[in-house]
């Protein structure tokens, strides 16, 4: 299972890649708090196979930085409780998750995995997605070069 924060959820929804993500991971989850941060209209676009989980608020995160919200902390709690990887493009969240021993990935790595597993079928399509992802997260020349290596 993998849990998405709202950077990856928003990016993959905009890119219309959530169905492709299901081919990579049969179980994809978000927290109820993450869901509630979107408008009702947007919430209705989330596929029903994405699991909505409730976090255990009794898990103490007193050392969490001010740069994170309560919804961010809800996915940290879920990751700790269920030993799940978090997908996030938010650096403060990634840094704190790593500090808590949670495994992390992001949109960029997910996109390359979709291509390498032939879920994104062509290189042209992959490059189009990479370019479009730059609307959501900046990709340096160095990282773009890595992404384009076969």
């Amino acid at each position: 299972m993998i849990i998405l924060d709202n950077t990856v959820l928003s990016a993959f929804s905009r890119l219309k890649l959530l169905p492709s993500l299901k081919k990579l991971y049969p179980y994809v989850a978000i927290s109820e708090e993450i869901l509630n941060e979107y408008s009702l209209q947007w919430q209705q676009t989330i596929p029903n196979w994405i699991r909505i989980l409730q976090s255990d608020k009794s898990i103490s995160l007193k050392d969490s930085p001010l740069s994170l919200s309560s919804a961010d902390l809800s996915i940290i709690r879920l990751a700790l409780e269920h030993n799940i990887t978090i997908a996030s493009d938010d650096r403060p969240l990634r840094i704190y998750a790593e500090k808590r021993g949670i495994s992390i990935t992001g949109s960029f790595g997910l996109l390359k995995a979709l291509y390498q597993k032939n879920i994104i079928k062509t290189r042209e399509e992959y490059i189009t997605y990479l370019n479009s992802l730059q609307e959501d997260v900046y990709i340096s020349d160095e990282l773009m070069k890595w992404a384009l290596e076969e």
């Binding site: 993998i2 924060d5 709202n6 950077t7 928003s10 990579l24 991971y25 049969p26 993450i34 941060e37 979107y38 408008s39 947007w42 740069s67 994170l68 919200s69 309560s70 919804a71 961010d72 990887t85 493009d89 938010d90 650096r91 403060p92 969240l93 990634r94 495994s103 992390i104 990935t105 992001g106 949109s107 960029f108 790595g109 997910l110 390359k112 995995a113 597993k117 730059q134 609307e135 959501d136 997260v137 900046y138 990709i139 160095e142 990282l143 890595w146 992404a147």
Partner: protein, 93 residues
């Protein structure tokens, strides 16, 4: 309730923008928060919370200004680690 501070802005901004005092205050806050999010200093969720917006609405404000979000992995080593994590999770599929 979040504790607040007062900041001073030139009064000319009221006339130049045509905004009311309250709207100018809201807009100033939005600009600050967009910059903090753009620089990767706060999360998307925290940014939307600070300006009392839904995440989808905040993202549309962000994108209409063509800002870049500094986020995700920093180095090749970081992104390779992200990728290896995915490979490990999907190797049996």
């Amino acid at each position: 309730m979040t504790e607040k501070i007062n900041i001073k802005l030139p009064v000319d901004l009221l006339e130049l923008t045509g905004l009311s005092y309250e709207s100018l205050e809201e807009k100033s806050l939005l600009i600050w928060v967009l910059e903090l999010y753009s620089e990767g200093k706060i999360t998307l969720s925290k940014a939307a919370n600070l300006v009392h917006m839904k995440v989808d609405k905040f993202l549309s404000e962000f994108k209409k200004r063509h800002l870049k979000h500094i986020g995700g992995p920093v180095t090749i080593r970081d992104v390779q680690k992200d990728f290896d994590t995915i490979q490990d999770l999907t190797k049996d599929q």
